[in-house]
């Protein structure tokens, strides 16, 4: 008897002991895929990669920069709010001129650019350490739209920074 069969029997026996009714149900996969799906997928992936021949295509990069700018603006507003309301000396452990836009962009890409949450923005803010993005501030309507679309509560960011 080969190892696969041994393991299969072990799994079946284990299930009979734990859940007798469940063990009687046919374990066949009830899910299907469209005809030739797995034959076509490598080509589909290849086409998408050719459209992304560099890690960040120009289109994706432009989109990321746009969202990064908005995110950066939110961070900036949070920091300014914090500084103005809580720190007369402005003596916080952050340097606005030291934030790294590329790093934020990479984090956004990794996390999924539409899923930015308060905690992520705070982390990005605290972890960043290079160039200034003061010039990235966009108009207020865009920032407000972004906050609403992503259900981001600015108060949460400020409170986190205070703690």
């Amino acid at each position: 008897m080969n190892t696969n069969n041994e393991n299969s029997n072990e799994v079946r026996k284990e299930l009979e002991d734990i859940a007798p009714s469940l063990s009687k149900i046919d374990r066949a996969n009830p899910f299907e895929v469209p005809d030739n799906y797995f034959d076509n997928l490598p080509g589909v992936v290849s086409d998408r990669i050719n459209g992304h021949s560099t890690p960040h295509s120009s289109t994706v990069r432009a989109l990321v920069i746009r969202w990064t700018a908005v995110a950066a603006s939110i961070i900036l507003i949070a920091v300014l709010t914090f500084v103005l309301t809580n720190s007369p000396e402005g003596n916080i452990n952050l340097d606005l001129a030291q934030l790294d836009l590329d790093e934020i962009e990479e984090v956004l890409m990794d996390q999924g650019i539409y899923a930015v949450e308060e905690e992520e923005l705070i982390d990005m803010l605290l972890d960043s350490d290079e160039e200034s993005f003061l010039e990235e501030i966009n108009d207020l309507d865009e920032i407000i739209d972004y906050l609403i679309d992503n259900n981001i509560d600015l108060t949460t960011i400020v409170e986190e920074l205070e703690s």
Partner: protein, 183 residues
């Protein structure tokens, strides 16, 4: 054409720009089904699984040159796929503004409407029971029940002890048993 390249051979070919596309294509062929079925059992719907899987491959393409072999290649890819699934499910919850408890109803309805689900009534009930499990428990159950994965292998994949995985599977199977046999 040889298709059963080892991971090491594929990674070596991927490092070379000339053979990179071919190596990646072979990697997709080698692992597409395992990743697809993992994703599909998490999100249930084929179209969602297809979208997620394509994104996973793009991420793998972007990150593979930085991959270090201290973790196995499949383990690394599997984690990317798992993260994408969880991100997708969280986004869906937020987008639809549904509490967690209603999410399973939503996925369940989506399953009933999925033309690529061929299960009978009992299979549908089983899937609904699986959906009622917490996400991590659902992964453990699927790996053991459908893939018949050994706990030791699962332990490396999920970075969880064998004992904890056994307990998790037992809990999951018990809950499903209760769901399908008595309500």
């Amino acid at each position: 054409m040889k298709e059963d390249y080892s991971d090491e051979e594929l990674l070596k070919q991927f490092e070379n720009e000339g053979t990179r596309p071919k190596a990646f294509n072979l990697l997709v062929i080698k692992y597409q089904k395992r990743l697809y079925w993992h994703i599909r059992k998490m999100v249930l719907n084929h179209d969602d699984a297809d979208d997620i899987l394509q994104n996973v491959w793009i991420k793998i393409w972007n990150g593979l040159s930085k991959f270090r072999s201290d973790a196995g290649l499949y383990t690394w890819m599997y984690r990317i796929a798992s993260n994408e699934c969880l991100t997708f499910l969280n986004k869906k919850k937020k987008k639809l503004l549904v509490p967690l408890a209603d999410m399973e109803n939503l996925l369940s309805q989506s399953l009933e409407a999925d033309s690529y689900f061929s299960g009978d009534e009992i299979q549908l009930k089983l899937q609904k029971a699986v959906l009622s499990l917490p996400e991590k428990q659902r992964i453990v159950f699927n790996l053991r029940y459908y893939d018949e994965m050994k706990y030791e292998e699962m332990s490396g994949l999920l970075l969880t002890s064998v004992g904890a995985l056994k307990a998790s599977y037992h809990h999951a199977a018990k809950k499903i048993e209760k769901f399908i046999s008595g309500d």
